[in-house]
Symmetry: C2
Subunit: 428 residues, 2 copies
């Protein structure tokens, strides 16, 4: 028997699939116990079809989804279109028709995964999406199959290659945010509207999916606080360096006594922490747990071949189940009631960069404000800024999100103080 695939979309990632089927055919066929073949490829319109054929792509291109759904020979539908619609409608159709589905669509899975997953279960078919988080890193299946025995307490992830590329340039080469963005756009890492990447939204989607696998809670995007990298200044980068940190955009999901807390935010990462050396477009997921303790999964977060590798790994698992005539278990079975954390339980050290008038008594007044919220200082750096202004950098001891909100409000009431930035500071 040959396992037949129907591809939805033929962009960058899709064309990585034939590469693997060709270059690694023996291993893939042996693991799947069957040949895997691309049977039909859905494209947008006749124009795209003509263009792809002219470019030498020798596939059976179709422009109507029903050509794939109604084809009883197609076992697995591979959705690589991205965005919510029409991907959602097409996947729904495929699942309803009893076809297995593989998707790399993190936006869709983070926002509508629940209903698609439950539809797949009703229909007794597989719905896998390893490529949706951290592209080439096999993190989801590893969580589902290996970390089952372990209780995860916190996940820290460098989950967005674009912003990590930019931050690496800002840290290693002293570039400004603006210069880094322009270069990222030139290299094709950032889109012309880079909002999703630089504001932490893309990473927040991934945090939603990681919460399911790591903590069994299907939270929504609105449950993930997110803050991007656009406010990071060269001064912040330099101070971080000086104090032994690098700034990374970190997706953090942790379980506190009261529940789950997830956020994406620029964070000071100690230079000795394994996440600190995750550079350029690479991603990494750092897992803290009661059994293993600390483990990290590192690799490319995007790209044609890495993403296609995750997609094909999903395909091989489904093909194998088809061959063994077993259903296989749902991709993620870990499920608990959603309980979100009280902000008073979410604790961290923080970095404050504050501009003050360059006159006596400012530091004392700052100390009083922080002290009124029971926040103590671990490190303070005071230096002359431009003109009549001074710059005060504070690293606090551990404090809660509640205290952070309170002290931020109090600082904003003092006209003389200008809080330039506040970032989380991770421990070793």
């Amino acid at each position: 028997m040959t396992i037949k695939l129907g591809l939805l979309g033929f962009g960058t990632v899709a064309s990585g699939i034939p590469f693997l089927l060709e270059e690694n055919g023996d291993k893939i066929t042996a693991a799947a116990k069957d040949q895997i073949e691309i049977s039909k490829v859905l494209v947008k319109d006749e124009e795209e079809k003509t263009r792809l054929l002219a470019a030498g792509n020798d596939y059976h291109f179709v422009t109507d989804i029903d050509d794939i759904i109604s084809d009883s020979e197609i076992d697995i539908v591979i959705e690589l279109m991205g965005r919510i619609e029409p991907a959602k409608t097409f996947i729904t159709k495929a699942l309803k028709a009893g076809k297995h589905v593989v998707s790399a669509n993190k936006d869709l899975i983070a926002s509508h995964g629940k209903e698609l997953i439950s539809l797949a279960q009703d229909k007794g078919v597989a719905f896998y999406y390893e490529a949706a988080v951290a592209g080439g890193i096999p993190i989801l299946r590893t969580m589902a199959n290996s970390l089952t025995s372990d209780k995860v307490t916190r996940i820290l992830g460098v989950l967005n290659g674009t912003s990590n590329f930019m931050l690496t340039k800002m840290v290693d080469e002293g570039w400004s945010y603006e210069d880094a963005l322009v270069t990222a756009q030139k290299l094709g890492y950032a889109e012309s509207d880079p909002t999703n990447d630089v504001e932490g939204i893309d990473a927040a989607y991934k945090a939603v999916i990681l919460s399911q696998f790591g903590f069994g809670m299907t939270i929504g995007l609105e449950d993930v606080t997110h803050k991007g990298i656009s406010t990071i200044s060269t001064a912040d980068v330099a101070v971080a360096q000086q104090l032994g940190y690098v700034i990374k955009l970190v997706g953090a999901i942790e379980e506190t006594p009261s529940g789950l807390f997830a956020e994406v935010s620029p964070s000071f990462v100690p230079k000795t922490h394994p996440l600190a050396s995750v550079n350029g477009v690479m991603n990494a997921v750092f897992v803290e747990s009661i059994g293993i303790g600390q483990s990290m999964y590192y690799g490319p977060g995007a790209g044609q071949k890495p993403t296609a590798t995750s997609v094909v790994a999903d395909i091989v698992r489904i093909a194998r189940h088809l061959n063994d005539k077993t259903i296989g278990k749902p991709f993620n079975e870990f499920s608990r009631e959603i309980k979100l954390s009280d902000l008073s339980d979410v604790k961290s050290r923080y970095y404050f960069s504050i501009e003050t008038p360059d006159k006596k008594g400012q530091l004392l007044q700052l100390a009083e404000i922080f002290s009124s919220e029971d926040i103590s200082f671990e490190q303070v750096l005071q230096q002359k800024a431009q003109g009549e202004r001074a710059s005060v950098v504070i690293i606090t001891h551990e404090m809660s999100k509640t205290a952070l909100a309170n002290v931020t409000a109090k600082l904003s009431e003092v006209a003389e103080f200008k809080v330039l930035n506040t970032f989380k500071v991770l421990g070793e």
Copy 2:
């Protein structure tokens, strides 16, 4: 139904199993779809039994393996005794009796895995051993289930926690090998006879198992060249630092055009390479492949809880198959004919540390010897050593193992030259 375990041995790792079953019981039971229970524990003799009971261990201890083998209620036998015998005999008995087996015994699996695996297949039972390589890192199942779609070209691993702890101390604190060893022994990381750890034998066992999962080749320990860390001097460490490297004991398995080559050797790792920041007793497996490109799996290489986590992950998978009444696939199915590489195909840059008389013309003579083997220099450092001697450090361009053997032989013929050390130099 309750899944009943028979434990062979009740050492450090074994006692990590009840910890996980208790602290993470809900998740484990949900994933296994059954309760998991330690039914019987095999100990050496009545003395050990009395001692363990007195220490408050409330288990059904037995001293005869047949009490476990003949117990039809026991589904899974967990071997945590270590060494070859009697572990091999006991596992064989268990498999023959149709019991599933989980083992953490890398020595056994590297030396006799083949026959045990084939016995398990004949009997239609599972034989899993995730904990055998890199303790808490879920690397084997990840290779078997996720990297199936990918073709691995090279694996680089920091696979021995003891030697990595020692090297970290030598690099970070400037300790000598001897001081590092004494401390490792004091902390219980190194045994009184540290040979297996410091001479790369332990890492070579792991390389054997990684070769099976990564390249489908069941090579023998004798096929893995190994060289330990005992000859590394503080001078080597300092020069490495100066040139932008750290020295790590690296297990390297690569496929060249002519076949597989595996070795464990001290290696210069560029500071920017992800393996360079794997410190202390941590392990990491860095995988190069045609699909993902570069990925790394990092975590504790040993220890009670990490190792027990891998063991329990294996147990959960088996329990789940029992519940689903499916057999599950063999732990590793990737299998190809063994083909070992010609040494002329195995290429790397190398570091040479050579002592010469402190007189004119020495460097020229050295250059001539290397040049006669077509080896060119990337970097040369010459400095005055003690007394009448000088020290020459060379980093070569890429050269083959054959050239390495030839040039080493030629250098040994010149009485004036003393080659202090030769280490592999990895690229970025």
